[in-house]
Symmetry: C2
Subunit: 108 residues, 2 copies
DNA sequence: TTGATTAATCGTAATATTGCGATATATAAG
DNA sequence: CTTATATATCGCAATATTACGATTAATCAA
């Protein structure tokens, strides 16, 4: 890459971009969809569910966790993951805002 | 990268990931925020607004346009861009769904 | 036609992401 | 202690993204 001038953007812009970026991979979307489907917290079943190695799944899980899209708690030898909506309302509000500001008869 | 097994994911998952990915960069978020702020369609002012070269801005604009987050129309020597909410409701629904499925007392 | 303006594209270099096997860590069972 | 199970991390290789200067293409004005 060149140099991303992070300091030039507002914190809100950076936070949004970070969360969106974390959502920008099909494996991570699939993980979130799976966690949404299984009401109870599921752990290593995700590895079985996805077409990826255990190592790769673990990396995706860590990424989602670091950003605050999922939570994980250890119980015995396994780890229980579930959704964490910490940043989701931010995204919902952002998209809502964009939709409300979209002109209907412009650049058509 | 290794090999992303695109064919293993559903079309919906892939579409979501693609749109999120396009939103996963502060420059592109800033572009969308700017277009939301300026009701009228603005063109190369975006270059002035962002801490990036004209070439880089153009690339970001193309990316947003390809995915359907903005529209652009040529008028004279300049190009007029504006928001296109084609995929935004998909994102809003997805995040809404995740929020509704997030357990409140899990992995805490 | 010539020159100015605007935006897209090319080519290249720097950096980030992704995936996997191998390994490390941690808990539980025997 | 030893073994089995579950998960995280390391190290590497392959690939993707990003940025920029330079160039191209297109339109407008004179």
């Amino acid at each position: 890459m060149g140099i991303t001038k992070i300091e030039s953007y507002s914190n809100q812009t950076l936070e949004l971009a970070t969360v969106f970026k974390a959502l920008g991979h099909p494996a991570r979307i699939a993980i979130l969809e799976y966690l949404a489907k299984e009401k109870k917290c599921i752990c290593g079943d995700i590895v079985t569910e996805l077409p990826l190695s255990q190592a790769s799944v673990s990396r995706h899980l860590q990424e989602l966790k670091n950003i605050g899209l999922i939570k994980g708690s250890v119980s015995g030898t396994s780890v229980c993951y579930c959704l964490d909506d910490q940043h989701l309302s931010l995204i919902e509000q952002f998209t809502k805002h964009l939709i409300s500001q979209t002109p209907s008869n412009c650049c058509s």
